[in-house]
């Protein structure tokens, strides 16, 4: 029997507001333990939460960017459980009435088609603190700086069918979060976390199999690895005519396996109920339109515009809109040199190649967009050859100097003066009588040899098109 995996992802993304969700404490990462705390986030008796409007605004941005419905009213609820990193004994979250529902995200499949992934809900909640376990003593320390840092949970429909799809969805989600400026989406630092609900069913079936929830997926690679592992594990169980146990599993990145954490019977009963300390959150249409107005052009919209306005291939547009900074870079280049495909080729080839090799992102790019555009302009005008352009590009990346300066300093301007080129050609012909003989005897391939000799003599500066033409004329065809 052929099986099909069914995957849904729950993503927790930290929102980069400057203050916490229910108090005015700073959200800055890396401070001395328990210095960004106050009676509210410490859960002191008598303290009360007050909702940070910025958190709502940021979540609304995400809701609009993922095509969600925003009900007129949502509610905060308490999720009750005991843990030392949770000072109130409950986490303020949203449960029955989340801020956003029924959204979707279109992702690119490998075959070039697009697939729509449903988003069940997005809700806001507060993060818990951090436990630091002493290595030598049986003692744990509690750091509550992170307590109350705003999180947004994005729950997908079980629409994903492979680890690769899950990876693409997750990367798209992160790209949007960064694009609209509400979070940094850093998985390794924990500001972007993911749990995966995975089940297996016979291909073609329309009922769901028993699912497991896998936690501790702390990198994109691990998400895909864990999903692949879990698919294989469940498939094996089913092929053995066994039954998958509904449980929470933990990814062990060291061993590369998922391990049982707790069964359904051991699952927490969180005793959710509406938080009486916070009023129902009313989202007026006015607010939604204000957020909509401030929302930047989204990746999908920009990609479409690149295809229609710039007439570049959809593939190029997809790469160029993988981050807002890259898309801005591209458009910035076009202001100086408006040949969209030409610019896109260079960005996707040389520029991204360079950044990847150096592990840099476009924000740290040493070459200013106007300089790259200037370089392409020089090339286009015939002032430099393609080969020289590569040299200049490398020089630009290491020195940050503008291309014209490099060309001038190194005397790299292309030679298009017929008399100079003819002089060099005459010298090459005089020095290579044998080759001239063979060429005339029909070995026309030797033209490459002559071009090479001329180019070498001119240190690559001769206009190669002219060299070709003049050579043919002199040697006769």
């Amino acid at each position: 029997m052929e099986f099909e995996p069914v995957i849904g992802l729950e993503v927790h993304a930290q929102l980069n507001t400057s203050t916490k969700i229910f108090c005015a404490c700073s959200t800055r990462f890396g401070a001395e333990p328990n210095t960004h705390v106050c009676p509210v986030c410490l859960g002191m008796p008598g303290s009360l939460p007050v909702l940070n409007k910025k958190v709502v605004e940021y979540t609304l941005r995400m809701a609009l960017a993922t095509n969600c419905d925003i009900p007129p009213q949502s509610r905060f609820a308490r999720k009750n459980y005991f843990y030392p990193d949770l000072p109130k004994g409950y986490q303020i979250s949203q449960y029955e009435l989340p801020i956003a529902i029924n959204g979707h995200l279109d992702i690119d499949m490998q075959d070039g088609s697009s697939k729509r992934i449903g988003i069940t809900r997005i809700h806001m909640e507060e993060d818990a603190g951090k436990l630091i376990h002493d290595g030598s003593l049986p003692v744990s320390h509690v750091d509550l700086n992170r307590t109350g840092v705003p999180l947004m949970e994005i729950v997908s429909e079980p629409d994903l069918r492979s680890a690769a799809e899950a990876g693409v969805y997750l990367r798209n989600l992160r790209a949007i979060i960064r694009w609209i400026g509400i979070g940094d989406g850093n998985m390794e630092e924990g500001s972007f976390r993911c749990d995966a609900n995975i089940s297996i069913r016979p291909k073609g079936s329309d009922t769901f199999g028993t699912r497991t929830e896998t936690k501790n997926l702390n990198s994109f690679k691990n998400v895909e690895k864990a999903i692949r592992y879990e698919i294989a594990r469940q498939t094996e169980i089913l092929l053995d005519t066994g039954q998958v146990v509904q449980e929470t599993r933990l990814w062990n990145p060291g061993k590369g396996v998922t391990e049982s954490m707790r069964s359904k019977e051991q699952a927490h009963d969180y005793r959710y109920f509406p938080d009486p300390d916070l009023l129902p959150l009313v989202i007026e249409k006015k607010w939604i339109s204000a957020v909509q107005k401030d929302l930047p052009e989204l990746p999908s919209q920009r990609r479409e515009r690149f295809v229609t306005e710039m007439a570049i291939p959809d593939y190029d547009a997809g790469v160029l809109t993988s981050s807002r900074e890259l898309a801005d870079y591209y458009e910035s280049c076009l202001k100086t040199f408006n040949q969209p495909k030409h610019v896109s080729n260079w960005i996707m080839g040389s520029l991204l190649g360079l950044l990847n090799a150096e592990g840099k992102s476009i924000e740290d790019c040493p070459i200013a967009p106007k300089d790259l555009a200037q370089l392409l302009k020089l090339l286009d005008e015939g002032a430099i050859s393609g080969k020289i352009a590569k040299t200049v590009f490398e020089e630009m990346s290491s020195t940050g100097k503008p291309p014209k300066q490099i060309v001038e300093e190194k005397g790299l301007v292309q030679v298009s003066d017929t008399s100079i080129i003819e002089k060099e050609i005459d010298a090459v012909i005089a020095a290579n009588p044998n080759e001239v003989e063979r060429y005339k005897d029909g070995q026309k391939k030797l033209i490459g040899f002559f071009v090479g000799q001329v180019m070498r003599a001119t240190k690559g500066k001769a206009n190669p098109k002219m060299v070709n033409e003049l050579l043919m004329k002199k040697l006769g065809t």
């Binding site: 009676p39 009360l48 004994g89």
Partner: protein
């Protein structure tokens, strides 16, 4: 002149005319506490040194011409209200040594007026109880009959005011915890509209029901105290931005044309003491004599009130009290080295039986599979009860009722029967469920000489109507002038 017997408004008048100083007044109150506190046991923490300093500051302010109605007035505070630097126990071992690093909103308001704080007052643990016998530390005695309970949970506050150990006090009312002890101790107790007074710094019992309210010797003083503590607070999302009216200004208005609603369900309740029924009926006659008309109203869901309340309040409490886990502050069972054992040990030692009972009830009611049948249903009943009041207040301006079905119970009487204790809240807790204000004013005495209170309920933000009615009643009667035989 015995300064401790003064009301707030009387003392203010003397302070203003520089006939007395706040230090004199505060010393008199301190002396009074030292004299009668051994019999009453209303205080958990005395703050006499601070009080005398505050009195000094108040006298300086007065000398500089800065006097407000509470400047230099010695008050007591229920030990559920956070006081910066002064331990706030909530009547519980789990917070026995807890010193808040901040003042409650109401404390900031009182301090801004240069009020004097004599100490923190006893209460049933976390405000759970109607007799003060559920305090982890001591049992407060009713100044009118020392073998009797002062009521609860703000029993310490009511007893302290009745025994002249402070000129006024703050309590909190979640299901009647201000009005019932006021009734039992022969003082005035007000539960404001939900949201009228900020809950910031009030340690939560049941957040959707809790409201801070004043206990005082007269209605005038009640209005002064509410004036001081009411108002919007951005730190409490449930506090309302509505402007605060001048409560004292309404006191002199007459009652002509005032419609007093008499809910038939309230007077048919089983267990209503005939002496209470008769005192309340006489009080209603007095109000009629002052120009009010009576109308019969109906509150058809009254019989479900106690059941709904004793699901909603413990449910919220089970969550609100989860923070007392021994990790950050408060009592920790240091014998236990394993986390779960430490939680169990700390909470079992830290919480008394009534609190544990309510945590268990609440936890059960919110559990998966039970939520809809209990918490969900109770929330629906709550809506119906609120609607009952809305409809009743279309026919009347205030509702008159007993504050409690009986006068104060003898100490020890209700300890074995939590259900009987819960049922005694039948007249007070509907106001909390509906979020409306209620006031209790002295309206008689039982044959044992124990006070009886008349409860008046109003619509949302109808505190002025309550004050006016209670004030006119008070002026027409002598009950508030009688002092307990201490």
């Amino acid at each position: 002149m015995q300064l401790h017997t003064l009301t707030i408004s009387e003392a203010h008048d003397l302070l203003k005319r520089k006939k007395i100083t706040s230090v004199e007044l505060t010393r008199a109150v301190v002396d009074r506490i030292e004299a009668v506190e051994p019999k009453v046991l209303a205080f958990l923490t005395r703050t006499f040194e601070d009080a005398l300093e505050q009195a000094n500051a108040a006298d300086k302010a007065i000398a500089a011409g800065k006097i407000t109605p509470l400047t230099g007035i010695p008050l007591g505070i229920k030990d559920l209200i956070c006081t910066d630097g002064i331990r706030t126990t909530c009547g519980s071992h789990i917070l026995e040594d807890f010193i808040p690093p901040f003042d409650a909103f109401v404390m900031r308001k009182l301090k801004a007026q240069n009020a004097v704080i004599a100490g923190k007052l006893n209460m049933d643990e976390f405000a759970m109880g109607s007799t003060n016998e559920h305090s982890a530390f001591q049992v407060t005695h009713n100044p009118w009959g020392l073998e009797h309970s002062p009521g609860g949970s703000s029993g310490g506050s009511a007893a302290a005011v009745a025994a002249d150990m402070c000129l006024g006090a703050l309590g909190s009312d979640t299901g009647g915890s201000v009005r019932q002890p006021a009734s039992h101790c022969g003082v005035v107790g007000l539960k404001p509209t939900y949201g009228r007074v900020s809950r910031f710094g009030l340690v939560a019992f049941a957040s959707s029901l809790d409201q801070i309210g004043p206990l005082s010797k007269t209605v005038t003083d009640s209005a002064i105290l509410l004036q001081a503590i009411a108002g919007h607070d951005e730190a409490d999302s449930t506090s309302v931005p509505n402007g605060v009216p001048n409560y004292s200004a309404c006191l002199g208005r007459d009652l002509k044309g005032l419609r007093i609603g008499l809910p038939k369900e309230y007077f048919d309740i089983e267990g209503l003491d005939p002496q209470v029924a008769s005192a309340v009926k006489k009080a209603i006659d007095t109000l009629s004599g002052l120009g009010a008309q009576t109308v019969e109203v109906t509150l058809p869901h009254t019989e479900y009130g106690v059941a709904a309340y004793y699901i909603i309040a413990p449910s919220e409490a089970s969550s609100n009290l989860a923070r007392y886990d021994g990790v950050k502050y408060g009592l920790r069972d240091k014998q236990k080295t394993e986390l779960l054992e430490m939680y169990r040990g700390s909470r079992s030692q830290g919480f008394g039986p009534e609190v544990q009972r309510r945590i268990l009830i609440g936890t059960y009611c919110l559990s998966a599979g039970y939520y809809d049948a209990y918490y969900g249903k109770a929330s629906q009943i709550r809506t119906l009860i609120a609607r009952d009041f809305e409809q009743a207040f279309q026919k009347c301006d205030v509702i008159a009722a007993p504050a409690a079905p009986t006068p104060a119970t003898a100490l020890g009487e209700s300890l074995d029967d939590p259900l009987a204790m819960y049922l005694s809240d039948v007249f007070t807790l509907p106001a909390n469920l509906a979020g409306i204000p209620g006031i209790s004013v002295p309206c008689g005495f039982s044959d044992k000489g124990l006070p009886i209170g008349l409860q008046l309920l109003g619509g949302h933000f109808a505190e002025e109507t309550l004050f006016k009615t209670a004030y006119q009643f008070e002026q027409a009667t002598e009950f508030h002038k009688k002092r307990p035989p201490l």
